[in-house]
Symmetry: C2
Subunit: 223 residues, 2 copies
């Protein structure tokens, strides 16, 4: 990529959607220097971080970062004890429950990262199937966050949060990815974090159904 | 505090402003269960976290938490190396520079914490002196973030970000705190992180000036 490339930050989980977005940006032929960012938040399927690194290298990303975000943030566990009551809610130290404000935290970390890179374009890959379940996958949310970022930036900066797949179904993403020759075998989807993938969890089932709907075979290894 | 108290989350740095806000909430006589939250982001004046814990205990806070936020988030240091270029900006690993989106990250962490506690009221203590320098201390920013939180919450939740001091000057905060008998000797302000405080850094100078303007003497130990 030329030094004059426009820098951008892409949140890359290592799954199908963000990986297809990375290949989509490459294929567009725009002079973008895509810096990929993955978040290590103690997810059970932490192995997806290895996928994100391998995919970034394969795609020729300008850089790849993994930022840690302590899972304690999500479960509200008191990490200090000043002799105060420990709320009962904190007893439930499960990481794999709903992560409050996950995308808000992730995009904000991406924006903080972008400030250091002189970038204002952020890419994230929510798809239509997501926003039916998660409110922080709707475009309305990203519009509001975009405004919040612009108001909160150290300088008046025209941050943009790009969500090009927000109205697309998972099956469309697979169709697009097949056309873009996404190396599916490097991606990770299985929620259990197993490799080969379990093929039975919600995430695997959804993935396999999206390939089947395209009359295609997922090249990923399954148990 | 009675079990029926309304839960709220206060971002407590251990400095003058957030401590005065904690005492202000106590004095209001409302039936609030104030859970204090401090963020350990590798700040040079990390000793303020000890102040926050001591002040939470003294104030009878419902709980006190310290959440870690890895400083790498702020300096954009690549933590993994997949053979990719390391951007030049990442060479400058100083924590004490401007922290991009600090308040956005802090309030989002407070909101994530609040979800676990069943709280929707968040308190943070920017003052007028802050917002002249920092855009993320302006009420306009918090209005936008409040909307973003409501849109991004797992459920439709009426999050409120309270910034009661946003139009008050630091000298007014000291006046208010004196009236509320804030234990100033437990707070921490010095930017160098030293105890006794240096008395010369920007933060100490501003603090001493605010006491002087009130014709009062700061009981904190200075070198």
């Amino acid at each position: 990529m030329s030094p004059a490339s426009e820098p951008a930050v892409l949140l890359l989980s290592g799954g199908m959607d963000s990986t297809t977005l990375l290949w989509h940006l490459r294929a567009e032929g725009r002079d973008l220097a895509v810096h990929t960012l993955s978040i290590d938040y103690g997810q059970r399927h932490r192995v997806e971080l290895e996928s994100a690194a391998a995919l970034s290298a394969r795609a020729g990303a300008a850089s790849h970062r993994v930022l840690p975000l302590d899972p304690a943030a999500f479960v509200g566990t008191p990490l200090t004890d000043a002799g105060l009551d420990v709320p009962a809610a904190s007893e439930d130290r499960q990481i794999d429950t709903v992560v409050p404000f996950r995308n808000l935290l992730f995009v904000t970390l991406a924006a903080a990262c972008a400030e250091g890179l002189g970038a204002t374009d952020l890419y994230i890959a929510p798809v239509r199937d997501d926003y039916e379940a998660y409110r922080d996958c709707r475009r309305e949310f990203y519009d509001s966050l975009e405004r919040t970022l612009r108001l909160g930036a150290a300088r008046d900066a025209a941050f943009r949060i790009h969500t090009p797949f927000v109205e697309r179904a998972k099956t469309e993403i697979v169709a697009l990815g097949i056309g873009l020759k996404v190396p599916w075998e490097l991606t990770h989807t299985c929620y259990t974090g197993r490799r080969p993938a379990c093929g039975r969890c919600d995430a695997c089932s959804e993935r396999l159904a999206a390939f089947a709907a395209n009359g295609a075979v997922d090249p990923l290894a399954y148990e």
